[in-house]
């Protein structure tokens, strides 16, 4: 893969600055089995695949005032999908998080406001994008072992191919329970509104446009942008939908040491577009995180 000059330049700068002054380094690697990675509505065409990704983060934090903490994070990472190499990519980004804690101690509620910008460069170049995210999160430890958080997030992608320009927002609830000294369980749910990109075999998509899936689908598909995309095959198209999505997940985090954890996770997604076409996906992942 050819590295765009900007990304490689920023990466080198980050590495140099980080190596000199980062207060903390983190690495994360994960392997995910994605069911319907292609986000395809027509069940026989759904494409499953293994996804591997890794990232290195350099972290700086500074207490600005007694209850205000700022954290700046630089991240460089990669994604690899051996079956669909068009989705292979790298990314580089930065995130700023400001935390206001309302009181002293682990039981004091905390409000986090954050924003991040990242450049994603993918092998299928139209999918390359600048991604801008922002959000806020309110978290509270309810007991020594029980924690809950509610968060809102806004996301916008400015892609090379306009099909992949998307804007969406979501709210999430998550709870975490430390079941054993080394094992933590979590569960959460999200509702997303806005745009996502879906994929379909050309034949299926043209059938939808031609009314093969009913007039409502034909009308809606006639109004949305679409383009050829080779990420999932030579005769595939990508198209942008307006939708809502319901996500839920279950996870565990096993502390292998003070600075290392292994986290299995299951996530399910159900996306419904404006023509009531449904896209179901599931993700089974295993992540290893280490803090230096």
């Amino acid at each position: 893969m050819r590295l765009p000059r900007l990304v490689s330049g920023l990466g080198a700068a980050l590495a140099v600055v980080g190596a000199v002054s980062a207060q903390e380094w983190r690495t994360a690697f994960s392997a995910t089995w994605a069911e319907n990675l292609s986000r395809t509505s027509f069940a026989p065409d759904r494409q499953n695949a293994a996804v591997y990704d890794g990232a290195v983060d350099a972290v700086w934090h500074r207490q600005l005032a007694p209850n205000w903490l700022a954290q700046l994070q630089g991240e460089a990472g990669f994604e690899q999908v051996p079956v669909f190499p068009g989705l292979d990519g790298i990314h580089l980004g930065a995130r700023l998080d400001v935390r206001r804690k309302f009181g002293l101690g682990p039981f004091a509620p905390a409000l986090d406001v954050w924003g991040q910008a990242a450049r994603y460069d993918l092998h299928e170049r139209d999918r390359s994008a600048w991604r801008v995210d922002g959000g806020l999160s309110l978290s509270q430890r309810l007991t020594e072992t029980w924690r809950a958080s509610v968060s809102g997030q806004w996301n916008e992608d400015y892609a090379r191919g306009h099909i992949f320009d998307i804007v969406n927002r979501r709210i999430s609830l998550e709870t975490t329970w430390q079941a054993l000294e080394r094992i933590q369980l979590s569960a959460g749910a999200s509702r997303l509104w806005g745009q996502l990109t879906a994929n379909a075999n050309e034949f299926v998509y043209y059938s939808a446009l031609g009314g093969g899936f009913g007039p409502k689908v034909a009308h809606y598909y006639g109004t949305i942008p679409w383009a050829e995309s080779t990420a999932f095959g030579d005769d595939w198209v990508a198209y942008r939908i307006d939708c809502r999505a319901d996500l839920c997940w279950l996870g565990a985090s096993i502390a292998l040491g003070e600075n290392t954890s292994l986290s299995p996770r299951y996530e399910s997604a159900r996306v419904v577009n404006r023509a009531d076409v449904t896209y179901r996906s599931a993700f089974w992942s295993l992540s290893l995180v280490h803090r230096f």
Binding site: H61, Q184, A255
Partner: protein, 210 residues
């Protein structure tokens, strides 16, 4: 030298040479494993005068951990908190025996706090919630902390009646016994400890990528 003075000197030297009694205490948990980081203290029954403050002790912030985890001091002793990390800390205590707060505690800082009331003081960091340490402030000069072998020896004790108390972070309530000392003694305790549910330090993976 007059005979009386010589006899007096011999008596004084003899008294000084008597080492006093020693109490050996061993602590095990319900499974028979030695209990480390427990504080064992002996308080003279009915004693009203607090002991003299001990020399200042240190609780270091290093690798985003308080070291040591448990510290025992006598009332009036100063504790110094050197920050040997490369990050700021915000140490605090909400305990009745000593409330204090040291925000914006930069790397290299080194401030002290005098603990002037008996009791257990829990120390935390408001930035790194997993950081915790305990200071047991005691109204007696006779105390010690168990090591990995779960044992302590309290020596130089005068004869008399004492309250023997054992404290540990995982003990629901301190355990105590009354002890009348005339000679060396050995005491053992089997402690029913709560599960260790300290706030976890290990990093968490990021949310899914949907």
């Amino acid at each position: 030298m007059p005979r009386l003075s010589i006899l007096t000197l011999v008596a004084v030297l003899a008294a000084a040479a008597v080492p006093g009694a020693t109490v050996n205490v061993s602590l095990v948990d319900a499974k028979g494993a030695p209990v480390a980081d427990a504080v064992v203290s002996l308080t003279v029954a009915g004693a009203a005068t607090p002991p003299a403050a001990g020399p200042a002790v240190e609780i270091v912030q290093k690798n985003q951990t308080f070291i040591p985890y448990v510290t025992a001091i006598s009332v009036g002793t100063a504790v110094v908190f050197p920050n040997e990390d490369n990050v700021q800390h915000h140490i605090y205590s909400l305990s009745k025996a000593k409330r204090f707060e040291k925000p914006l505690y930069a790397p290299g800082s080194r401030e002290s706090v005098i603990f002037d009331q008996p009791g257990v003081v829990t120390i935390g960091c408001n930035i790194h919630d997993w950081m915790v340490a305990y200071i047991v402030v005691l109204p007696t000069p006779y105390f010690a902390k168990t090591g990995a072998d779960g044992r302590v020896a309290l020596a130089g004790l005068p004869p008399g009646s004492f309250r023997l108390e054992v404290w540990h972070p995982l003990l629901p309530a301190p355990q105590d016994r009354t002890l009348t000392l005339a000679a060396d003694a050995t005491e053992s305790f089997v402690l029913a400890l709560k599960p260790d549910r300290r706030i976890r330090r290990a990093p968490e993976s990021k949310a899914g990528g949907y």
